[in-house]
Each structure stands twice: as C-alpha cells, then as structure tokens.
C-alpha cells in the first residue's frame, strides 16, 4: 500500500473509532434516560443531562478531524463519500444525544411523582431506539448499505408504538383531568422518541449514500 493510503487509512480508522465511541455514548444516554424515566430516578436524570456536553465535545473533535483529513488527503470517490457520511452521522448522533438529554429533563420535570400508568409503550420505543443506534453505527463502520436499510425499517415499530402511546395518554387525560401536567410531559417524551427514530433513519440514508453514491429516502 502506498504511503498516502497508509496515512489516509490510519486517519479514517481513528475517525471511525471516535464515531463508534460517540454512538455508544448516545445509546447509553438513551438507555439511562429511559431508566431515569421509568424509575423516576432524578439523580440519574441529572447525570444524563450533564453528560450530553461530552457527546457535543466529541462531535467537535470528530468534525475537526474529518476536515483535516479532507484538507490534507484530498479524498475522492468512496473515500470522500465516507467522510461526508461521517460528518452527517456525527451531526445526527449529536441530535440523538440531545433527545436523550431532553428525556432526562422531562423526567426531572415530573419531579419523581408516580406515573399514572406504567410506561410500557414508551419504554419499548426507547429500547428499539437504542437498538437502532447500535445497529446503525455498526452499519456505518462496515459500510453496509443493506444493514442500514434493515435498521431503518425498525423506525416503523417506533412510529406504531408512538400512535398507541398518544392514544393511551389521551385516554388518561380524560380519566385524570387533575394530572394533565404529567400527561403533557409524557406526550413530549413520546414525540422525542419518535423524532429520535427519524434521526437514526437519516443516518441510515447517509450510509446508503456513502456506499452507493445514491441519495435515497427510507421509510417514506
């Protein structure tokens, strides 16, 4: 392998390792926010909210590294597409981290009061979201367009659960008109998780672009 390729491959490997770390942090943030919501664990919720800045810092680091690779290595073809994809993946993971932090804030706003009803649908949405994050980062590292397409399909389950959860909450609102505040927070939680799934789908679309050069819409 030529020296130029060795330098490029090493830089790309470092970038991928950072993105893998960022994906793991975003996934963990979501899992922890879900636990904080379920158990009304305010300390955990505060920690998730605080740790979001670590994800943001990693985003800046990855973006700076990617720009240096573009400037010094002048990549073309699939090398360039992969770097473009890396920047998009990073931006979406940062947003996913924000959603997890927002879930933690919603848990804090509920002030540890017991839930009107167990949040089974919401828990399931968060679990699927966490799996999607893990699968999509693996698909990116492997440059696997088919795995990205498969992962995006999981967003349908989040959307279906969101519809069910919203219906459930509307019923609860009628049943417990004195607890509209908590019901409203729960609606926001569901909306956050639904949007999180959309951002993972965006990542999947960019992985397909990185692998094929074609822009596609998944889950229209």
């Amino acid at each position: 392998m030529s020296t130029t390729r060795i330098v490029f491959e090493e830089a790309k490997t470092r970038l991928f390792q950072e993105i893998l770390k960022m994906g793991t942090m975003a996934e963990e943030a979501l899992v922890r926010a879900n636990v904080a919501l379920k158990n009304q664990d305010l300390d955990l919720a505060r920690a998730v909210k605080e740790d979001d800045r670590l994800i943001d810092e990693l985003q800046y680091l990855i973006e700076d590294e990617a720009v240096v690779i573009i400037a010094t290595q002048q990549p073309v073809a699939s090398d360039l597409r992969v770097l473009m994809t890396a920047l998009k993946v990073t931006a979406n993971l940062e947003r996913i981290g924000d959603f997890a932090a927002h879930l933690a804030k919603l848990a804090l706003r509920m002030e540890g009061k017991p839930h009107m009803k167990p949040l089974l649908g919401i828990e399931k949405m968060a679990e699927i979201g966490a799996t999607m994050i893990r699968e999509t980062v693996s698909a990116f590292i492997a440059g696997d367009a088919e795995a990205a397409r498969q992962t995006a399909k999981m967003d349908d389950s989040i959307d279906d659960l969101n519809r069910e959860v919203v219906q459930d909450i509307l019923v609860l609102m009628k049943e417990f008109p004195d607890r509209l505040e908590q019901a409203t927070q729960l609606l926001k939680v569901a909306t956050n998780l639904e949007r999180l799934g959309d951002h993972v789908t965006n990542i999947c679309e960019w992985i397909v672009f990185g692998a094929t050069g074609q822009h596609i819409e998944l889950n229209e």
């Binding site: 073809a77 360039l80 050069g213």
Partner: protein
C-alpha cells in the same frame, strides 16, 4: 490528477492502453463505476 479534476468537464482513465472509463469529471471523481478507476484516483496504485 487534482488539476484534471479542477479544470476538465470530462475525464477518461486509461490503463495499459485501454480506456477503462470515460465520464463527466464529477462522476469519475465522486462515484466512478469501475473499481480500477476508483483504485487509481484514490491512490491505491500509481
């Protein structure tokens, strides 16, 4: 090679006297169809 990318509208890649691929420059440099073109422009061989 970068200069060819900057100034041309169409790029052809020749290997051992054979035209491997000829296409608009943007396609050659962003999404070449032949793996030999990709390997050459990305420095896998020179």
């Amino acid at each position: 090679m970068q200069q060819a990318g900057r100034i041309s509208e169409t790029t052809a890649f020749f290997l051992h006297g054979e035209v491997v691929e000829m296409a608009p420059t943007k396609d050659i440099f962003f999404n070449p169809k032949d793996p030999r073109t990709e390997a050459y422009i990305s420095g896998r061989f020179g």
